[in-house]
Symmetry: C2
Subunit: 401 residues, 2 copies
């Protein structure tokens, strides 16, 4: 018996006429140039693609702040870039210290276990950043060959501000450091070479304001030495860095590259270079601080302490007596603004990554959030929220340019 074709609705009828403004924890809105580039397909090999790849690598070196010649694109989600870093740097039996601040940092530890690392989880108190002294003690105790850590833990909006000190301690102990910068890269400082990071991972759909599904990973020379000196064969084929190097540095073939996604990431990186990193860091910090001031102006409270607060994604305690899921449903239905819940915590999250981080988007979001809470019989002082947002915008002093 043959299977018949189903009757399907057109995408147009499924997608809402007025698109939702994506102010959640990602994906984020993409610039028009990125969307247009993502519609282009050319040959995955040959001279034209080589020129584009060269530029993607050159721009990546700027965005990652590294001279490394081991930056690889990954046809896959940010999680595939995480898995690529782990699978290539964690050899079976290696001691791994995983700094676990939440959902995504724990994913790094799980991936490390799957490739037979001997993993110790260094679990941080919920809502806090890693203390560099305690991490240093753990490094001394467990002698890890690899340390995994997130710069920003998207799941609960905690930022590991002490990343430079932690990298320094690891380096002193001869330990490689893998940093997940999926939501942070290009939104706040990360100086790969200066800080001595050995692998930095990023996805497309967060800080870079690109599409989900094409990611980047940068390896240091030290990391690359370990990769090339490994004698065992990786279980992974697509994520084998030595195979990927054929495409990214030897104009040769690994698998068919995600051509349109590479075009999109080319444009996303170009926009970062044009804005400059300092300009971008200031835009993100200004908008995020203003958003935070606006939220506090409404009378709501932020989840993470100021000292360990991630600016790329802002977490807000759900007001007592109101249901988190109801807030999310109402804000998208009534105001066409989409924000996120979390993984088990009673918070809602607002993203401030890439195109999310624009003044008009923050005003719209504060208004939508305040009105939603009011509509649910909660208290939200909208005039004060908007005023504090505006005041923070005006008073911001550039720190990076």
């Amino acid at each position: 018996m043959r299977i018949s074709a189903p009757i399907v609705e057109s995408l147009d009828s499924i997608l809402p006429d007025e698109p939702l403004l994506m102010m959640g924890a990602g994906p984020v809105p993409i610039p028009a140039k990125v969307a247009a580039a993502n519609g282009i397909v050319i040959n995955h090999l040959g001279e034209t693609m080589s020129r584009i790849i060269e530029q993607v690598k050159a721009m990546s070196r700027y965005v990652f702040q590294t001279e490394s010649s081991h930056i690889l694109g990954v046809a896959g989600p940010g999680s595939a870039a995480m898995e690529m870093a782990v699978a290539n740097l964690v050899a079976p039996g290696d001691n791994v210290l995983s700094v676990c601040n939440g959902f995504f940092s724990t994913r790094l530890s799980e991936m490390s276990e799957r490739v037979e690392g001997n993993v110790t989880r260094f679990v941080i108190e919920e809502g806090k950043a890693a203390d560099p002294l305690l991490v240093e003690q753990a490094i001394a105790k467990y002698s890890p060959k690899v340390l995994t850590i997130v710069q920003g833990e998207t799941s609960n909006t905690v930022c590991n501000n002490a990343l430079p000190e932690i990298c320094r301690a690891a380096k002193a102990a001869g330990c490689l450091v893998i940093v997940d910068a999926v939501c942070t890269l290009s939104t706040m400082p990360l100086y790969m070479d200066e800080w001595g990071v050995d692998a930095v991972i990023t996805g497309g759909q967060k800080g870079l304001s690109c599409i989900p599904g094409v990611s980047l990973v940068a390896f240091s020379e030290h990391a690359w030495d370990k990769i090339t000196s490994r004698q065992d064969t990786l279980r992974h084929w697509c994520l084998d860095a030595k195979l990927a190097d054929k495409f990214w540095y030897q104009s040769s073939y690994h698998y068919t590259a995600p051509v349109s996604g590479i075009m999109a990431i080319h444009e996303a990186l170009r926009l970062v270079c044009e804005e400059t990193l300092p300009g971008r860091f200031d835009r993100h910090l200004r908008c995020s601080l203003a958003l935070q001031a606006g939220i506090e102006g409404l009378g709501l409270s932020l989840y993470a302490d100021k000292a360990s607060r991630l600016n790329s994604v802002v977490g807000i305690h759900v007001p007592k007596g109101i249901d988190q899921k109801t807030i999310l449903a109402r804000i998208s239905n009534d105001f066409k603004v989409e924000i996120s819940g979390s993984f088990g915590l009673d918070i809602v999250r607002i993203g401030q990554m890439g195109e999310q981080c624009r003044v008009h988007n923050i005003f719209r979001t504060i208004h939508a959030l305040g009105s939603t809470i009011q509509g649910l019989d909660g208290e939200a002082n909208l005039p004060r929220g908007v005023a504090m947002l505006e005041k923070a915008l005006q008073e911001y002093q550039p720190q990076f340019v």
Copy 2:
């Protein structure tokens, strides 16, 4: 020292004003609807995405010709879908019989070895299809738990026509069959349930005429039983089918789905459903046979025997005294038509997949190929080539509708 931003050329200045017509072994041109859909980013979770995913699965069941409720999307190339099938179905120590007709079928055997399968390669004479009786004997000899095979070997244009008989022999011996249908799905018959295939793999950028970077894999109930009954933990995290099932069947989270790519594949599948499989099989067969007639009309000879010739990608012996690379360079420079070389063989390859397979594209390609050969002082009878192409188009009798 900080790294400065590089000076980059704009994509517009790198991409040629007149795009090359992609008539190689993939990627292939994409329909306008697919390109437009690939520019859309929405939330990767939630009701809108769920409706789109339901339609992608329903349309996939038609295109794969299966009632299976284990069709998964993969954020990655066709090779990632291959690796997903292998990693989930080949347990360490399993006997695997890999039918090797060339480059891509051998890749399946390499992936099987990496996940610790006990692999026997059944190597087919260059240019020939697998003989079902010999495969049956090999199954009896090696008692494999898994057999890997390609429907069409893109690298050398050989088609394993006896796939139904081979699947039947494997099934009788209790062996799971993994079929790579990256270049063939929707271009020629493949009836997953009827033939008893346990895993079918396809990529975006070939038969489906979609973007490279988002792929599909369909598992049979029998295959799924093996996946769910495995007690060991896969080394692979992104390609773990049990984790992917959370997103594709449980409206839950695995990794951030490649939203725009899923939109694109939705449209690519919708166009297949609209054209119908029989209509599409006939379009492909008619165009490919006409192309083959045109090539022979030019006076060139085809690589694969008629009995084992893949219609999706046509291989042509390079005429004596002419250099393969020179043909490829000239045809793209002078005629803006891109065709492929091969992996070590002295052939050029012309694709007939999806949008490549249109009458106007074949005429343009035959003209470009014949003129290129003439320009290189080779012999090519263009009037006869074009006449035979036209004759074959006119005389084609639909076989599927």
